[in-house]
């Protein structure tokens, strides 16, 4: 390994896990403060984008393969839509979370529903963002030297 970008590499390695954790914190505290699935997803994706910028796209693709991302995109979205369908099957309307726990007096169903759909949003957004980055970064640049 060259030491030319050692500073960047070391700092990215140190920051990687905290950024992920911050993303998850934002994800799960969307009920209480600002944030939620979308923001969390973006932050989560940035951790991987940084990883790819420093360690190289191939290395990041090894950590998070394109196929897995595709599945995550779908699963994330279906988490949301599936929650809606589940409430339909449980006798409510689409996304009527009260059907999840109709007996609860303090609307536990709402809380669960929101948690589930936010999780779906986070998953879908993060995987989509990383996927978009892969697509952009994974291309032979067309910028020519004389244009530079």
């Amino acid at each position: 390994m060259s030491i030319e970008h050692l500073i960047l590499r070391v700092v990215i390695k140190i920051m990687f896990a905290p950024i992920l954790l911050f993303a998850l914190y934002v994800q799960f505290h969307g009920d209480f403060g600002p944030g939620g699935g979308f923001q969390a997803g973006v932050i989560f994706a940035v951790a991987f984008i940084l990883h790819a910028l420093i360690m190289g796209l191939e290395e990041t693709k090894r950590v998070l393969p394109v196929g897995a991302l595709k599945i995550l995109m779908v699963v994330g979205f279906l988490f949301y839509a599936g929650t809606g369908v589940a409430t339909m099957l449980l006798g409510g309307n689409l996304l009527g979370y009260d059907a999840i726990d109709p007996a609860s007096t303090h609307h536990a169903g709402q809380h669960w529903g929101i948690l589930l759909v936010e999780f779906g949003v986070g998953m879908a957004v993060s995987s989509t963002m990383v996927m978009i980055f892969y697509q952009f970064a994974g291309r032979e640049p067309e910028i020519r030297d004389e244009d530079w």
Partner: protein
Amino acid sequence: MISLDLIRDILSWALFLTGGAAVVTGAIGIVRFPDFYTRLHAAGITDTAGAELLLLGMMLQAPSWLVVAKLVFVGFFLFMTSPVSTHAIAHAAWVVGLRPMLGSDLKREGDAQ
């Protein structure tokens, strides 16, 4: 407890004033200094003294320990990342061949004498 509050306020005032001054000074430096590499140092004032002093001032005024903790995180992460950004920019400029002005007469390598 009034005296303690007073001390706290005085301290924060001092921190805010010096921090604010540092931020402005750094910014003035960014505008005034003659070349890219010298401006890096001016930006350093904002990133280090300015930011950390203001954060300290805010910590003193924080309503709860959790706010203090978050401010500490902000400070810590800035402390970690700001030299990285600075180095990244400097290195990028260095690598493509931008050379600093050197010496007291601020001569750039390759400049006509």
